[in-house]
């Protein structure tokens, strides 16, 4: 386990006297059936609040890696993000590097509703923006298959380009390959 591995110990504090659950980052939470998440509206309000949710935890991760003695690697990101999505019950996350592209695979064993996809794209975008403040990564839900849901993080221009290709019938992984070829 690396120094930045996510530690779930004491992550949730149950304040029974006040009937509330507080996360280690100070968020007030509620434990609700996961089916209720499917009722989330996939609109701008959900996206903005999900971005704020991701920023909270991205900021914490940035603080952790800033205290490391060695430059952090992708493993640090995967370790922390994997624990974070797991403890929130959002699924097991895997970081995938394809060429120069960075992708996140969420494995939850459930079919994601549009509202949950909006929640996760916003969360990942907010998380990434806190790691590299100079960037404003956007997240695109690329595909759903037997191995879970795949999200790609790219700059806004690249995201729009890939969206167009996908609309034209290009397959997600082929679109990423085209994008890397264009940049050469």
């Amino acid at each position: 386990m690396t120094q930045s591995a996510f530690d779930a110990t004491g992550f949730f504090r149950f304040d029974l006297a006040n009937g509330s659950i507080i996360s280690r980052e100070g968020e007030q939470l509620a434990l609700i059936p996961v089916d209720l998440l499917d009722a989330l509206e996939p609109g701008e309000k959900t996206r903005q609040r999900s971005i704020a949710f991701g920023k909270t935890h991205g900021k914490r991760f940035s603080e952790i890696i800033a205290g490391l003695t060695e430059p952090p690697g992708v493993e640090n990101l995967a370790d922390y993000l994997g624990g974070l999505t797991a403890v929130f019950g959002l699924g097991r996350s895997v970081v995938e590097i394809r060429g120069n592209a960075i992708l996140f695979r969420l494995i939850s064993g459930r079919k994601m509703s549009d509202g949950v996809v909006t929640l996760l794209t916003g969360f990942l975008a907010g998380f990434m923006s806190e790691i590299e403040p100079e960037t404003t990564f956007e997240i695109l839900h690329m595909q759903t298959d037997d191995d879970g849901d795949l999200f790609w993080a790219g700059n806004p221009k690249a995201i729009e380009q890939v969206k167009d290709w996908l609309a034209d019938g290009v397959k997600p992984m082929e679109a990423l390959w085209l994008l890397s070829e264009e940049g050469r």
Binding site: M1, A5, A17, G73, E75, I97, R98, G154, L179
Partner: protein, 146 residues
């Protein structure tokens, strides 16, 4: 013995016999004797067995009677009368008033450390040699920014 004396003895014996008969009669009333078996009339002809012995059976064989199979007797179902249990009316228990204690304890959920999320390497390049900053820079510049 003279004839008179003989007559006296005969009368005496006759009296004794009468007394004994009377006594026996009284005892039968009190303890009746079982009835004597009736005498059966003596048949005028010999019994059939003897008859058969005397008269040989006919040559033709007697028909063998078909076995009579008794119809199964279906017992009528016995429906027991419902037994109504006696109602036991418990005595009302008056609970003691429970005075709730103020909740001051804050419970903390502590779980074991979560397993690290794996990094999947797709193109054979050693990820460990890359810093996170370098990976994110490449990802950010993918496809150009302008």
């Amino acid at each position: 013995m003279s004839a008179d004396v003989h007559m006296e003895k005969l009368e005496e014996l006759l009296d004794r016999v009468k007394r004994n008969r009377l006594k026996l009669a009284n005892e039968r009333i009190l303890h009746p004797e079982p009835m004597a078996p009736q005498e059966l009339p003596i048949p005028s002809e010999p019994p059939p067995a003897i008859k058969e012995e005397l008269a040989p059976p006919p040559v033709a064989a007697a028909p063998i009677p078909e076995p009579v199979i008794p119809e199964p007797v279906i017992p009528e179902p016995v429906i027991p009368e419902p037994v109504t249990p006696e109602l036991v009316i418990p005595e009302p228990v008056i609970p003691e008033p429970v005075i709730p204690e103020p909740v001051e304890e804050v419970r903390t959920f502590e779980s074991a450390p979560v397993a690290s999320g794996p990094v999947a390497q797709m193109d054979g390049r050693p990820i460990r040699e890359w810093t996170l900053k370098a990976v994110l820079n490449r990802a950010w510049n993918l496809g150009g920014r302008s």
